[in-house]
Amino acid sequence: MLAPENSPLKQTPLHALHVARGAKMVPFAGYDMPVQYAAGVLKEHLHTRSHAGLFDVSHMGQLALKPKSGKVADAALALEKLVPQDTLGIAPGRQRYAQFTNNDGGLLDDLMVANFGDHLFLVVNAACKVEDEAHLRAHLSDACEIVSLADRALIALQGPKAESVLEKLCADVSSMKFMDAGPRRVGDIDCFVSRSGYTGEDGFEISVPSDKAEALVAALLDSPDVLPIGLGARDSLRLEAGLCLYGHDIDTMTTPVEGALEWSVQKVRRSGGDRAGGFPGADKILAQFAQGASRRRVGLRPDGRAPVREGAALFADAASSDPIGKVTSGGFGPSLNAPVAMGYLPSTLSAVGTTVFAEVRGQRLPLKVAATPFVPNTYKR
């Protein structure tokens, strides 16, 4: 088998459109993806927050879990063997954030799960999609048919103008609330639409058959409110929104509690709940719910103008030689016009307002633990 770096880069169904629009293309998770267009990361970021941005996220994995019994509850219950979330409680037409855990309580991936009435629709990270599908097949094949939807593209339309733009092609979207999800006809194309995203803005993700993706994107880009946005601004937008990037802010070595994702684990799966435990690593994760974890993911605001980037060691003071944590995501937040970061600190030092120091080019720069999201989200609840 070829190592990934030796394999030719894959292309999404929108590759030609990116190139035609002057995108700078970079390798990402095995795909040749647009990191930015002519406008540049800063303008793309700000345009998404003020108008609307269109993102190609077709590299992500899309899967259907079809219950062999015909009852979606059976697929949802089966999935609960792999995630600490209440997937049985996802109402038809709704979506929920989830994580696949491992036996040590670490995270194999994070994902979105939607109930489409007769089956579940899953969106997983590009870098994990092969392993995720194998994981589902190994554990859920008794209860579910696992269908890879590799023939679909995925786009996101995000920002305050997203609704008015998409409404022209699908009148129904204005009645959707945050995390509503289901099949919708967009123009003359059968799509799956969810009111969600990865920017902190109101917006939509649209799963579209690959052969129709370019036509749909062209129709959306027809609006003067919409600019195509690359992965660069996608990263700065999600960072300002305080959202985790799998493989950086959370990974196989971090639990949902350490990752400050307790909110995503519903009470029914915690100790004392009707369906407590029953997912990989439940003993460790539920113990951490009861006793706390020794470290915690926090938001960080550097005091100065210098960005503090991923990998920077964190220290309790300006002089100590022993690091107490590290930055897992960091950069410049264009909407804040200031640097922002996330990282792990001992729980005892994780309170908002605590000052810690990052080592950057041999200097100790002060940062303050800050509440996330750094930029308030604008979801339509």
């Binding site: 990361v41 601004a233 103008r305 960005p307 980037r309 950069g331 264009p334």
Partner: protein, 121 residues
């Protein structure tokens, strides 16, 4: 006054024994929107090829190297307040620092404008 270039996309404007140093328009276009510039301290003695300054875009940090050996005699404080000057006027107002040239023979290894144009073509 002569302007010379390095293969790392820096320019040097030579006036007497002083070199004013910045990054080229090509470099800023590759970096994208500059959001932070860290400059060397005045009085610092830089060796040729030593990391002298840092220029950061939204996405990444890049080093600016001393193209020649010399003492830092002035830095462009305007860049701290307005890093975006690097994007709008890389070859002019967005100079980074001035060096007192230690060894003029080091200039011989640098490119003139035509050579640099060929380098980036």
């Amino acid at each position: 006054m002569t302007t010379l270039y390095t293969s790392d996309h820096e320019w040097l404007r030579i006036e007497g024994d002083v070199a004013t140093i910045g990054i080229t328009d090509y470099a800023q276009s590759q970096l994208g929107d500059v959001v932070f510039v860290e400059l060397p301290k005045v009085g610092r003695n830089l060796k040729k090829a030593e990391a002298a300054a840092v220029v950061e875009s939204v996405k990444a940090a890049s080093d600016v190297y001393a193209p020649i050996t010399g003492e830092v005699i002035e830095v462009n404080e305007a860049l701290a307040a307005e890093p975006a000057l690097v994007n709008s006027d890389a070859g002019g107002k967005a100079w980074f620092f001035k060096l007192k040239i230690a060894d003029k023979s080091e200039l011989g290894g640098l490119m003139d404008e035509a050579a640099y144009a060929a380098h980036t073509a």
